[in-house]
C-alpha cells in the first residue's frame, strides 16, 4: 500500500481515527507520518514523564500535604524536582509512587533482579522452603511416606535455622 499523502513510499504507519463517530483510516509512510507529528521524533525524556505524571496526580490536593518525617521531603518538592529525599520516601509516598512506577517500568512494580548478599540468603531460604513444601505435598499425594518424612525434616531444619 502506498502512502496516502505523498503516494510515493510504502505506507508503514496505519492509524484509525474516530471523529464525530465517523471512522477514518490513515496510511502514511514514515516521513509523512513524522511530518504530521504522528511519531514522536524526540523521545520524551524520562524526567519529563515523571514531572508530567506527578503533575497530573497532584491535582488531588491532599497529596501535597504529605511530608516525609525522616528527610522533610514534601510531595510538592518531589513533584518539582523529580528526585526523592531518602529511602523512606518510598514508604511515605508509596500509594502515589506505585502508579508512577507502573508508567515508568512497563506496568511492573515488583523487583525481581539482584538482591544484596545477606538478604539473598533469606530470599534463597524462602525459595527453598517453598520448593520443599511443594515436593512434600507431592510425596504425600503419592503416598510416598518415607520421602515425605525426609522432606518434612528438611523443612523443619530450614525453619529452625532461619
Amino acid at each position: 500500500m502506498l502512502c496516502q499523502k505523498c503516494k510515493k513510499h510504502a505506507a508503514t504507519v496505519h492509524l484509525t481515527e474516530i471523529l464525530n463517530s465517523e471512522k477514518r483510516e490513515k496510511h502514511l509512510c514514515e516521513q509523512c507520518a513524522a511530518q504530521e507529528g504522528l511519531t514522536d521524533k524526540a523521545q520524551q525524556p524520562i524526567n519529563q514523564l515523571v514531572a508530567k505524571f506527578v503533575l497530573a496526580q497532584t491535582e488531588a490536593k491532599e497529596l501535597s500535604q504529605i511530608t516525609c518525617p525522616d528527610c522533610g521531603m514534601s510531595f510538592l518538592q518531589f513533584r518539582n524536582g523529580g528526585l526523592l529525599g531518602c529511602p523512606n520516601d518510598y514508604e511515605v509516598f508509596k500509594q502515589t509512587l506505585v502508579g508512577l512506577l507502573e508508567k515508568a517500568h512497563e506496568g511492573r512494580t515488583q523487583h525481581v533482579g539482584k538482591i544484596p548478599g545477606g538478604r539473598e540468603n533469606k530470599h534463597k531460604r524462602q525459595h527453598e522452603l517453598m520448593k520443599l513444601r511443594r515436593d512434600l505435598q507431592e510425596a504425600v499425594n503419592l503416598e510416598d511416606y518415607e520421602r515425605a518424612a525426609a522432606l518434612r525434616d528438611k523443612v523443619k531444619g530450614l525453619e529452625e535455622n532461619g
Partner: protein, 355 residues
C-alpha cells in the same frame, strides 16, 4: 596517576577495541545506581553527609580487592577544563562535571571502569567496553557490585529493589547503553525507524554524551528505560538478542541500499569528508564529528584504505574542546580553537599518508 590530564597520552580501552557488527556498534556500557542505607539521598544531604558518604565509598574501594587498581579523583577541587576532559572521555556525566560540593570518581587506568560518587545517587558504577560486549560488561559490574556490597550496605526494599533518588531507576538500578553509529540511516532519512523501534521496545535514544545531548555525527546512545520487574540478565539479553540486532539490521539495509542505488552520492560524501578534513583551515567540533562520521562509514563500507580506524578514533577523541586545549597546552577561545583543530587534523592525516 596524580593528574587526569595525563589521560590524554592514552586512549580508553573501549576506543581501542576491534569494532563489532561492521563498526555499527561502537561501545557497550552498563551502569548501576546504588545508595547507602542510613543516609538521605543527595538532595537532602548536608555537606557533612556528602563528605561521609564519599569517605565510606572510597574506603570500601580501597580496602577491597579492587583497591590497588583504582585512583580517586576529587572533582570539587579540579578545574573546569579537566572536568570537561573526563566528560569527553565518557568517564563522568556532564551533570557530575557541572555540579557542586564533595564528589568525585574512582577510575581504573584502562578507563573501563568509573565509579561516580555523589552524582544523582551516592554511587554510580560504570563499565565501558568497545564493540558489543554486554555480557562481559555485566559480569564485570556485577562482580564490582558484589565486592563493594561486602563493605557497604546499600538501600534496598523488598518490593522496589535497590532504591534510587529518581523512581525511574529503582529495582535493578541498571542502565544498559549501546552507542551505535548510524550514518546511512541518517542519509536515507530512515532514522525515524530507530526512534519508533526504540519506542516499541521502551528504550531511550540519546546523543553522544548521554542525557540531554543531541545526536551529533550520527552517534546514538540507546538505553533501557525500565529498571523494575525484570532481572539484570533479562535486560542485557534483550539488548544483545533483540535491540542491537534489529537496529544493526536497519543500518545494514540502508548501507546496502546506498551502495546499490546511490553509490556516487555516498562516495562523494566520503571523499568530500576526506578533502575537507585534509585541507580545512578552520573547523568546528560539530563539523569535525560529522565529517569523521562519514569517514568512518566509508572505511566500514570498504571505500577507503588510506585511513585506519585507529586514526579516526584518535581524532574523535582529541579534537574535542578540552582534549585539544590540554594536548596543545593552550587555552583558547572558540575561533582560535577551530583553527587549532583544523591544524591538528591536517597534521594527523598527512602524517598518516606518509607513513
Amino acid at each position: 596517576m596524580d593528574n587526569v590530564t595525563e589521560l590524554v597520552s592514552g586512549r580508553g580501552d573501549w576506543l581501542k577495541s576491534v569494532n563489532s557488527e561492521g563498526g555499527i556498534v561502537i561501545s557497550s556500557r552498563i551502569r548501576l545506581a546504588r545508595n547507602l542505607g542510613g543516609f538521605h539521598f543527595l538532595s537532602k544531604c548536608s555537606q557533612q553527609d556528602r563528605d561521609e558518604i564519599q569517605a565510606l565509598i572510597v574506603g570500601a574501594i580501597n580496602s577491597s580487592a579492587l583497591g590497588g587498581h583504582f585512583f580517586y579523583v576529587h572533582l570539587d577541587n579540579m578545574g573546569p577544563l579537566e572536568r570537561q576532559l573526563l566528560v569527553e572521555r565518557h568517564l563522568i556525566s556532564r551533570q557530575h562535571a557541572e555540579a557542586e560540593g564533595p564528589r568525585g570518581v574512582a577510575l581504573v587506568g584502562d578507563e573501563t571502569v568509573a565509579l561516580m560518587v555523589n552524582e544523582e545517587d551516592h554511587l554510580r558504577m560504570q563499565v565501558l567496553y568497545g564493540g558489543l560486549q554486554l555480557d562481559k560488561a555485566w559480569q564485570r559490574i556485577n562482580q564490582l557490585d558484589d565486592q563493594l556490597e561486602e563493605r557497604l550496605e546499600f538501600a534496598f526494599h523488598e518490593q522496589f529493589g535497590y532504591l534510587t533518588a529518581c523512581p525511574t531507576n529503582i529495582g535493578t538500578g541498571i542502565r544498559v547503553s549501546v552507542m551505535m553509529h548510524l550514518p546511512a540511516l541518517k542519509i536515507t532519512g530512515e532514522i525515524e525507524r530507530v526512534f519508533r523501534a526504540a519506542k516499541d521496545m521502551h528504550l531511550a535514544v540519546r546523543g553522544l554524551y548521554g542525557e540531554g545531548t543531541e545526536a551529533t555525527g550520527d552517534f546514538y546512545q540507546i538505553s533501557n528505560q525500565s529498571t523494575l520487574g525484570k532481572t539484570e540478565e533479562e535486560i542485557v539479553e534483550e539488548f544483545r538478542d533483540l535491540v542491537v540486532p534489529r537496529i544493526t539490521e536497519y543500518e545494514v539495509q540502508a548501507r546496502e541500499l546506498l551502495t546499490k542505488q546511490k553509490s556516487t552520492m555516498i562516495e562523494d560524501k566520503v571523499w568530500r569528508a576526506i578533502g575537507m578534513l585534509k585541507y580545512a583551515r578552520t573547523i568546528s567540533t560539530e563539523e569535525t564529528l560529522l565529517l569523521l562520521s562519514h569517514l568512518r562509514m566509508g572505511l566500514n563500507m570498504g571505500m577507503l584504505n588510506d585511513v585506519d580506524l585507529d586514526t579516526i578514533n584518535e581524532l574523535f577523541l582529541n579534537t574535542q574542546q578540552a582534549h585539544l586545549q590540554i594536548i596543545t597546552g593552550q587555552r583558547l577561545d572558540g575561533e582560535q580553537r577551530s583553527k587549532l583543530r583544523a591544524d591538528y587534523i591536517r597534521r594527523r592525516l598527512s602524517n598518516h599518508q606518509n607513513n
